[in-house]
C-alpha cells in the first residue's frame, strides 16, 4: 500500500497598502475622502497574514510549495508587495489601478478569485490567508466574500492555525465571549486576527534579496476585471467632536461628578 501523498500547499496572501495605523486621519476638503498625502504601510492584519504563511512553511518545510503576495492598487502598492517579499514571500502579483481609485471588497474578492482560477497544476493555490479587515475602510468582508465565491471553507478571525499533511486544517477562532475551534480541509480561506502572531521585521539582507524577487504586474483588463464601484460615496465627514478636557482635582470631586450625572 502506498502512503498517501502529502498535499502540497500553495499560499496566496492578499496585502493592502493603507494609511499607516498611527497616522491621525484628516478629512479631505472636498468631503469625499480623507487626506491620503500621508505615510502608508501594509495593513497590520495583512502583516500577520504574511507572517503566518512564512511560519507555516517554517513548521511544515517542503509541504508549503509557494507563498505569493498579491496587491491591488496604484504603483506604490508595489512597495507593499516588496515588504511581503522581504518578510519571506516568494513572488508577487500586482494588479495596477489608477491613483485615487477605491477598489471595493467585492471587486478585490473577484480579482483574487481570478488569480486563483488562473493557477493550475502543482502551482494551484489552495490556501488564502488574509487579514480580517483593512484599517482604512474597516469593512472586514473580503475574505468571507472570496470563500463564498470560491465555495471554499473558511476560518475567520483566526488566533491559531495549523495544517496537516493531507490537507486537514485546524483553526481557533476569536468569537464574542471566547474562542472556538473548527476543523476543515484545503482548499481554505483564513482571515487573521491580531493574536495569531507577532509579525517579523524584514532584515536588511532580506530587503536586498527581495529586490530580486519577481513581481508580475497585471492590469485589471488582463484578467477581465471591472473595478467600477457599486457604492457611491455621498460624503466623508469628521465625526462629531467630543467636548472633553474637564479635569478634576481629587477623588472627592470625581465622586461629585458621578453624583451630578446620577450615576451614584
Amino acid at each position: 500500500m502506498r502512503p498517501t501523498l502529502p498535499r502540497l500547499i500553495n499560499i496566496l496572501v492578499p496585502v493592502k497598502r493603507s494609511i499607516d495605523y498611527a497616522v491621525k486621519i484628516r478629512v479631505a476638503s472636498d468631503g469625499k475622502g480623507v487626506d491620503t498625502n500621508v505615510k502608508h504601510s501594509m495593513n497590520p492584519f495583512d502583516e500577520i497574514a504574511v507572517e503566518e504563511a512564512i511560519r507555516l512553511r517554517e513548521r511544515k518545510g517542503k509541504l508549503v510549495t509557494s507563498i505569493t503576495a498579491l496587491s491591488i492598487g496604484p504603483a506604490k502598492a508595489a512597495d507593499t508587495i516588496r515588504t511581503a517579499l522581504a518578510m519571506g514571500a516568494d513572488t508577487g502579483i500586482h494588479i495596477t489601478t489608477p491613483e485615487g481609485i477605491v477598489v471595493e471588497p467585492i471587486s478585490v474578492a473577484h480579482a483574487i478569485k481570478k488569480v486563483i482560477d488562473r493557477s493550475e497544476g502543482k502551482d494551484k493555490i489552495d490556501l488564502v490567508i488574509c487579514g480580517k479587515q483593512a484599517i482604512d475602510d474597516d469593512s472586514g468582508s473580503t475574505g468571507g466574500m472570496l470563500a463564498g465565491m470560491l465555495g471554499w471553507d473558511q476560518g475567520g478571525f483566526a488566533s491559531k492555525l495549523d495544517v496537516e499533511e493531507g490537507g486537514k486544517i485546524q483553526v481557533t477562532r476569536e468569537i464574542d465571549g471566547g474562542l472556538e475551534k473548527i476543523e476543515g480541509n484545503l482548499p481554505f480561506v483564513v482571515t487573521t486576527d491580531l493574536r495569531l502572531n507577532e509579525p517579523r521585521y524584514a532584515s536588511l539582507p532580506n530587503i536586498m534579496k527581495a529586490k530580486k524577487k519577481k513581481i508580475e504586474t497585471l492590469k485589471p483588463e488582463d484578467l477581465g476585471l471591472d473595478f467600477t464601484p457599486r457604492l457611491e460615496t455621498i460624503s466623508v465627514s469628521e465625526p462629531p467632536k467630543r467636548v472633553g478636557g474637564g479635569k478634576v482635582e481629587n477623588v472627592d470631586e470625581l465622586v461629585g461628578k458621578l453624583k451630578d450625572a446620577g450615576l451614584l
Partner: protein, 341 residues
Amino acid sequence: MIIRTLPRLTRHLSIQRRLASSLVLLEHKGGKLNESSLTAITAAKVLNGDTAGIVIGSSSDVEAVTGQAKTIEGLSKIYTASSDAYSNSLAENVAPLLAAVLPAKNITHLFAAHTAVGKNVFPRLAGLLDTSMIADIIALEPSGDTFTRPIYAGNAILKVKSSPKDKIKIVTVRTTAFDKAPIGNGSATVESVDTVSSDSTTKFISEELTRSSRPDLSSASRVVSGGRALKSQENFTQIIEPLADALGAAVGASRAAVDSGYADNSLQVGQTGKVVAPELYVAVGISGAIQHLAGMKESKLIVAINKDPDAPIFQVADAGLVADLFEAVPQLTKKVQENKA
C-alpha cells in the same frame, strides 16, 4: 395638470414603500436570544417596510428562541430553519440557507448585528450572491439605499449610496448606534423554511467561553477598563474588578493590557475588539490611542484616571483625574461603596 399628477406621485411612493421587505438574523446562543439582534430590528424599521426575523439553529434552540422572538415588537413574521448543521452558526452552512431564503421571500434588505456571527456569515453570503456588504452602519435613510458607517477607526464618517446592481442589501449594524426593539407585545406568525444542505467539510470542534458573573461588556450600561499601567494581572484583578463590582459595571481592557496577559482577549475595547457606548466608561491607566478611542468614545460620560496629564484620553474625558491609579482607584472604590450603603 398638478391635480392629476399628485395622486400618481403618492401612489408611486406608496408602492416604493411597500417594496422594502427586511429580514433580520436573530442570533442566539444556547437557546437564548442575543439582545444585540434587537438593535438590528430597530435599524430595519427605519425603512418603514415589512420586517421579519429569522431564527436558524438546532431544533431545540430554534424552538426556545422562537417563543421569545414572536413577542418582539415590530416583526410581522419569524422564519425558522432547524437542523443540527446550523447549531454552531458555521458560515458554510448558514450562508447558503440565507442565499436561498432571501430571493424566495422577496427580501430587499438583510440585517444583523455587527457581532462575531454577523461578521462571519454575511461576507460569505455577499460572496454567494455577488453583492456588496455594508458593514457596521450607524445610520440609514428610509429610502433604503443610503447608509452611514464609520471608517478609519471611527475617525471619519462615510455616507454611501448603494447601486440598484446590488439587489439585496446585506447590512450589519453597530449595536451601540441603535436602541433595542422592545420585547413583549409583538405577535409575529411563525413559518418554517426548508433547510439547505452544504457540501462543506468544516466541523465545529469545541469552544472555550470566558465565564463572568458581571454584565456582558458589549451591552453593559457601565464599563471599567484597565490598561498597561496596571503592570500585572494581579493588579488588574485587585484594582479594576472591585471598582467594577462597586459600580455594577462590566470589565474592559485596552489592547496593551490584553497583549501583556493582564486580561482576556474577549475584554478588549477598541477598533479590533468590542465597541461600547455605555452610560459611564471609566478608563484606568489607559493612555487613549486612537484604536482604543474608536471603541469607547460614544460613551455618555467618560472618566479617566491617569498619571500622565498629557495622555490623549484626557482630551475626550468628561472627568479626568491626574493621579496614581494605585492610590486613586481604591479610594474611589471605597467612596462608591459608601455611597451605595
